[in-house]
Symmetry: C2
Subunit: 349 residues, 2 copies
């Protein structure tokens, strides 16, 4: 892992602050985070000043900053709750963004060593991905690994990686029903692997612990799909699942890779799954339409950038799903607004 | 792992004997193998009597048995070298077949415990597979795991598993060029996971350490694709890669699963990679045509059994690849003969 040179100035760590006191969170990550520039976005619903310890290089964005940039008027884009981090994606000027939930701390590997999640994401993003044929020994670019017998040589150079999805130890990323049904369920299985998710395979991307290449897929990280009352608890949230499928479709179309596996983070408790269960299972139900939609989606040859792709996806959402649920119509509208906003803000930098 | 009840009489372990003295191989596997019925097929090119220690329940098949069943006349099917195990597949009357190369011994997991590869294959084959959406926490049916947030409930029951592909520690399954270029390369990474290879994703299946459900996919395990002089060294062999893609296409078409990952076996040295490298890289070159062929192959709705599927694959091989290389034409012919042979032999039982 230490072989890869990370240019620290190419990386922003974006933290969405859903709690005011980030002291213990920041202290636990200090040795890793202090090397990088941080963008901290305060949930616009969260009142008061953030508490952040000394010794970090950071920018903080609050509701007033969001209003200034986006305008508070008629935009369908919401940055409340977990979605506040998307404002950080918008403000970043770096090539790579890593984002980690503020209820996660560094995990340990199976030898008991703390995992530098940022370095692992950067490794995932800077080594090739292999989406067109599955390598049974997982990531062939890891030290000590290679392509197995039968892997075509013409595919061994791989393609660029757009998105790196990390995983979770302790409290895994289950939905409210699963967590409520199995309250004792904790993930303790450390799987020492990174793999490229094959082309045309859809997956539920979690926003808890991810890294991406902004130049390749930035505009596809869009806060488009929000349940009525969601946003403060992961197991009630589907915004990141939708976003992940957008990014996956974009990567498949542009012949880029999506990796999953390492790094792990340690997730602490937050919320009450049984309470969440009493709410409507709207997100769970909607996945039954969302997944087949993205699985069957094909973009046109005219779409050659992530922006183009998002525009085409938005049009398809409106056409194929818009009539069935206002949530979908709003998602399509938000995606269109987001690409405009992205273009405008990035042009100013 | 111990929770699943294995009906020992539903399992045959098929061993292709490429060496006469199986004593140390059998002794290393004794605690595992002695519970099951073994089918040992002697490479028809191997002279003399096999040496097998006492205490196993086994049938041995030799060249004379093969000739009796298949007929020695004009069949294009060859059972020489690694392909001798396919004769064992033909003779088995069990639901599940596990096959392990005779240069492999039990591996240890990351806690230093010996791995019961047979039990793990049976677990893989008897728990559902999830080929239609990728679960980021790998096999959701493993104890302590589940489906992650965003996984559609309608897909959580999964489908039956047709093929279980195990992996290798120590000498990994690289091709001759890779092994010759990196003679010191050994696989020491124990990845504690089983995953379903997504539908429509092709992979290079290795025949070193596999299990399959004969009732579901048996006839698709066909010894069809043989290089001129191959068969005694894995890194010169492509027969199993071809077979694996046949099985994967069949599983995708019949909505069955293929799993990969655990169990590992420990592979010992055999052969000289640099010597192999001096031979023609015919297999390596042919993969450039074989992989795109299988990736684009779609079977008709009329194909509802593995036999039907193999017949359609054979017809496509003949039509699309047959003219480019006699190897392909022969493979197509062999597949047709194999399904006839399979039908005839299985009808006699």
């Amino acid at each position: 892992m230490s072989q890869i040179i990370i240019k620290d100035d190419e990386v922003d760590i974006v933290i969405g602050a859903l709690q005011s006191d980030l002291t213990s969170f920041m202290e636990e990550w200090r040795t890793v985070f202090s090397r990088f520039h941080l963008i901290i976005v305060q949930d616009p619903d969260l009142k008061g000043e953030l508490q952040i310890p000394e010794g970090f290089n950071h920018n903080i964005y609050k509701k007033s900053d969001i209003d200034k940039v986006v305008g508070s008027s008629s935009t369908p884009i919401s940055f409340s709750g977990y979605s506040c981090r998307y404002f950080g994606y918008l403000m970043s000027r770096k090539k790579y963004i890593i984002s980690i939930d503020d209820d996660c701390t560094p995990a340990k590997d199976s030898n008991g060593n703390f995992i530098d999640a940022i370095s692992q994401h950067i490794i995932n993003l800077t080594t090739p991905a292999t989406p067109f044929f599955f390598n049974t020994l997982y990531d062939p670019f890891v030290e000590g690994a290679d392509f197995v017998r039968g892997y075509p040589f013409s595919l061994r150079s791989g393609v660029e990686c757009g998105l790196s999805c990390g995983l979770w130890l302790n409290l895994a990323d289950y939905d409210a029903p699963t967590q409520a049904l199995k309250p004792e369920l904790r993930n303790s299985r450390y799987v020492d692997a990174v793999l490229t998710v094959p082309s045309r395979t859809m997956m539920p991307v979690s926003g808890i612990n991810i890294g991406f290449n902004t130049e390749l897929v930035g505009p596809a990280l869009v806060p488009a799909f929000r349940l009525g009352k969601e946003g403060k608890l992961r197991w009630e949230t589907v915004e990141d699942i939708w976003t992940g499928m957008c990014v996956k479709v974009v990567c498949d179309h542009l012949r880029l890779g999506v990796k999953t596996g390492l790094p792990y983070v340690w997730r602490k408790e937050r919320g009450d799954a049984v309470e969440s269960l009493k709410k409507e299972w709207e997100g769970v139900k909607l996945m039954e339409d969302v997944v087949p939609f993205f699985q069957s989606l094909r973009l046109s040859e005219a779409a050659v950038t992530a922006e183009d792709c998002v525009a085409e996806i938005a049009a398809s959402v409106k056409e194929r799903l818009g009539a069935s649920n206002t949530m979908f119509a709003r998602a399509a509208e938000t995606m269109v607004e987001w690409t405009k906003l992205w273009k405008r803000v990035k042009a100013q930098s």
